[in-house]
């Protein structure tokens, strides 16, 4: 069993948070030695969904994959791992991990709230180990999970090196519509108002950005005008100087104060007032960040899709989307991915209708919607069971390859980190799983988990 003391773990988190500076002693501030080489040999390397190499090896240097293939030999002195299958580590795009309960359930977050600032460094090391045992190597940490506006979510590794714990500080914007607020169920009018609030927030971000662009243009225009005026004045500088001196004299004779001549170019355009929330929303409105909206009821999904239609740049992702099936065609057409929480959920009351269809993921995928899978943003350890939930979704009709894609490259793509995570390819970060069998099967137990090039978990007996 790979032993990491809690002190070491905590120090990594602290270091990542910038607080490590004052605590950094050689013993505490453990970081990977430069030049660390790891060679992983397996019967099968799943490069990406649908692309597999038989009897291949993966070579990792300094946390990055430098070679993948059947002929990759182990350099001298490299640490060697073997297993049946190597694949990319799973990414949970919807978790409650990494935050204290108050940050997670905070309902007063705003668009500029950064979840990365709420990362909890004192997480139970056993939870982290469980998480890695479940194959999850990266997660979206999202404060204000049930707030109307949760703010900026971060993508973090599951206990990696201090240096690169955070994969993306600002991976997405999160909002929600129609959830219970303060354990109080919203009535239908409140819920519709929340849909409007999403659109209004994006609208304010959009106009903030427009104001800024307008200011930028005005400023450029002004600067140009000033330059031209200066040039013009330069030409008859002497005359102007004389005129000015004359005027000063005149003013003195009359005993008045001299007034400098005003040029219209003197009026510098004023910058729009800085607003962090609007700045963040502007990035969402402009498609620089994906927007993840948790919404469940059919009418709210419909209204949301309708009200965001004009924001063509917004990269909308739905989370939950319990009743999304009637809109599958539109979601597919508009390239809106859906993060499904495929947990088996029962009924609120014995006589109520089923609330969650375990086949939702499979049905959406079949209709052409990009399906992602998440553990539902619940507190704590639910992410550990993400691969079980994915398997269950497969048992309800989701293609196995689609489920695997959702957990790896799909999630990486949605959160703009597919240049680093999600596949086993040269140049990618080494966030890998070494399994005893195919992923999402009973045999596919995690033998080793590698995070940012470091072997962070090894199963007992290996």
């Amino acid at each position: 069993m790979h032993e990491v003391t809690s002190a070491t773990r905590a120090s990594r988190w602290l270091a990542a948070l910038g607080a490590g500076l004052c605590l950094a002693t050689p013993a505490l501030a453990r970081s990977p030695q430069t030049g660390d080489v790891l060679w992983i040999q397996a019967e099968k390397v799943v490069v990406r969904p649908g692309e597999e190499l038989a009897d291949a090896a993966v070579l990792v240097e300094d946390g990055r994959i430098v070679a993948v293939g059947p002929d990759v030999q182990a350099p001298e002195g490299a640490r060697q791992l073997t297993g049946k299958v190597v694949c990319a580590g799973f990414i949970d795009p919807w978790t409650g991990f990494g935050l204290d309960a108050r940050s997670l359930r905070d309902e007063r977050t705003s668009a500029a709230s950064r979840s990365v600032d709420a990362l909890d460094p004192y997480v139970d090391p056993r939870l982290v180990e469980d998480m890695l045992r479940g194959g999850v190597t990266a997660l979206r940490v999202q404060a204000g999970a049930t707030a109307k506006v949760g703010g900026l979510g971060a993508l973090v590794r599951c206990l990696p090196d201090a240096d690169d714990l955070v994969v993306s500080e600002e991976a997405c914007m999160a909002m929600s519509v129609g959830l219970d607020r303060n354990d109080r169920m919203l009535d239908v009018f409140d819920r519709v108002a929340e849909v409007d609030a999403v659109a209004a927030a994006l609208g304010s971000g959009k106009s903030y950005r427009e104001d800024q662009l307008e200011y930028r243009d005005e400023l450029a225009e002004w600067q140009k005008a000033i330059a031209e005026k200066e040039e013009e004045l330069e030409d008859d500088f002497k005359k102007a100087k004389k005129d000015r001196e004359k005027e000063i004299e005149k003013a003195e004779e009359k005993g008045k104060e001299h007034k400098e001549k005003r040029y219209k170019e003197d009026k510098k355009p004023s910058a729009p007032k800085f607003d962090a929330d609007k700045e963040a929303l502007a990035r969402v409105a402009n498609g620089e960040l994906p927007l993840i909206v948790e919404v469940h009821r059919a009418n709210e999904i419909r209204e949301l899709l309708a009200s965001l239609e004009e924001y063509t740049r917004v990269r909308l992702i739905l989370a939950g989307a319990t009743e999304a099936l009637p809109f599958a065609e539109e979601l597919a057409e508009r390239d809106v991915p859906v993060i499904v929480w495929p947990a088996p959920r029962g009924k609120a009351r014995p006589d109520a209708y089923e609330q969650a269809d375990p086949a939702l993921a499979g049905k959406l995928h079949a209709a052409g919607v990009e399906v992602l899978l998440g553990s539902g943003g619940q507190a704590g350890i639910a992410s550990r069971d993400l691969s079980l939930l994915a398997a269950l979704a497969v048992g309800h009709g989701l293609e196995a390859e689609a489920a695997f894609e959702a957990l790896t490259v799909g999630a990486a793509r949605a959160l703009d980190v597919s240049d680093r995570l999600g596949t086993v390819e040269r140049g990618k970060s080494a966030d890998l799983l070494v399994l005893d069998g195919d992923p999402l099967t009973l045999d596919g137990r995690v033998r080793h988990a590698v995070c940012g090039g470091e072997v962070v978990y090894t199963a007992e007996g290996n």
Binding site: P344, P350, P358, I381, S383, D385, L392
Partner: protein, 380 residues
């Protein structure tokens, strides 16, 4: 041998059962049969027989709703309709602690002691919630009274299709949970509760007498470990047999259960279940305590049963043991193992046709037969 796809054959067989007109079937059966339901066979690429042996290319021969023979070397009479299935054929799953069709019938708010009550009298076996169980591959459930009743009466074992009870009095249900205590009515404390149960057993009347004589096992609901100890002590004091149900950390007192010769019903577990409570299940297994799973349906989705099983396998419980907990082991704890829980001659023909190994969550339920009758057929 007839060869057609499983889906077609299920459909055809269902139609046959509805009409009873075998001759009209597109099965091109050579020898005429009296009725399709009387006798047919299912051939699977994998058939799980007995207590969990997987037979490749096995056959289950079903006659009059019972298994006539099951295994690899079953000689089928010529002309017998055969359903071909590419996948696993297994006995139906069994879970404890279900409440389908029991809305409002699980407890009486004014009385905590109702040993003569019968869940069997309160259940609506035609309630459509049973279908959801069937879709999850569950063919028998142990219906239990609420843990709010100190003595809630007898549990029943029901089939999830066909409106049939396997047992009307599987156990006497007792609750050692704090839910059984109530400020407004007797008993108000653990002491009073245990004292009353002791007194009833010693008085030797009705269901308590049956339990004391060993004819009726007790199903003791527990949540915390101290309640497990109290229940085990009670059972041991009076020489009762039976099981405890519930309690995430019950396994941490596994030795006590083992020495009291009690079984344990674990779960319902949930997504994100703590490692400590999963390890506790392993301890129960290591101590040799007979085990089964709790369902918690309909409030929980029936698929939770297989999810719990998969969590236990991942935690290190052997697959065979977990399979037993889902089938024959559960049937034994419910005292109905002579009828359900395994594919062996004389047992009820409760079968599930899976696309693959049922312990794999990625496997789908493709057809379910209860008492030889298709309850769910073809791909969903």
């Amino acid at each position: 041998m007839l060869a057609f796809t499983a889906r077609q054959s299920h459909r055809a067989l269902r139609a046959a059962l509805r009409t009873g007109a075998t001759a009209a079937l597109a099965l091109s059966v050579a020898a005429p049969l009296a009725r399709a339901s009387d006798s047919f066979a299912i051939r699977g690429s994998h058939v799980v027989v007995g207590s969990g042996q997987v037979v490749a290319d096995g056959v289950v021969w079903i006659e009059n709703g019972k298994v006539k023979a099951a295994g690899a070397d079953v000689q089928l009479p010529e002309g017998l309709p055969v359903v071909e299935h590419d996948g696993f054929v297994t006995p139906g799953l069994i879970g404890f602690g279900a409440a389908e069709g029991l809305t409002g019938e699980q407890f009486d708010s004014t009385r905590s002691l109702m040993p003569e009550a019968e869940v069997a009298l309160g259940v609506d076996l035609s309630h459509r919630d049973f279908e959801a169980l069937c879709r999850a591959g569950i063919t028998s459930v142990v219906l239990t009274p609420s843990s709010r009743a100190l003595a809630g009466g007898t549990t029943a074992v029901a089939k999830t299709a066909g409106n049939r009870l396997v047992s009307r009095d599987a156990h006497l249900a007792l609750s050692f949970e704090s839910a059984a205590l109530d400020r407004e009515r007797f008993p108000t404390s653990y002491g009073a509760a245990v004292n009353e149960l002791d007194r009833r057993v010693e008085a030797g009347e009705g269901r308590f007498a049956e339990a004391a004589a060993g004819r009726l096992p007790v199903l003791m609901m527990v949540a915390a470990r101290h309640q497990v100890l109290r229940a085990a002590g009670f059972a041991q004091r009076h020489g009762l047999r039976g099981a405890v149900m519930g309690g995430a950390l019950t396994g941490e007192v596994a030795d006590v259960l083992a020495s009291a010769k009690l079984a344990a019903i674990v779960g319902p577990l949930s997504v994100g279940q703590s490692r400590r409570s999963l390890d506790a299940v392993l301890e129960l297994h290591a101590a040799g305590v007979p085990l089964a799973f709790a369902l918690g349906t309909p409030w929980r989705h029936p698929d939770g049963l297989r999810l719990d099983a998969a969590m236990c396998v991942r935690q290190g419980l052997p697959g065979d043991a977990v399979w037993g907990m889902l089938t024959s082991g559960a049937a034994a704890i419910a005292g109905v193992d002579s009828a359900v829980g395994s594919l062996a001659p004389g047992r009820d023909a409760d079968l599930v046709l899976w696309s693959g190994n049922p312990l794999e969550l990625g496997s789908q339920v493709e057809a379910v037969y209860v008492d030889g009758v298709p309850a769910l057929g073809g791909a969903r």
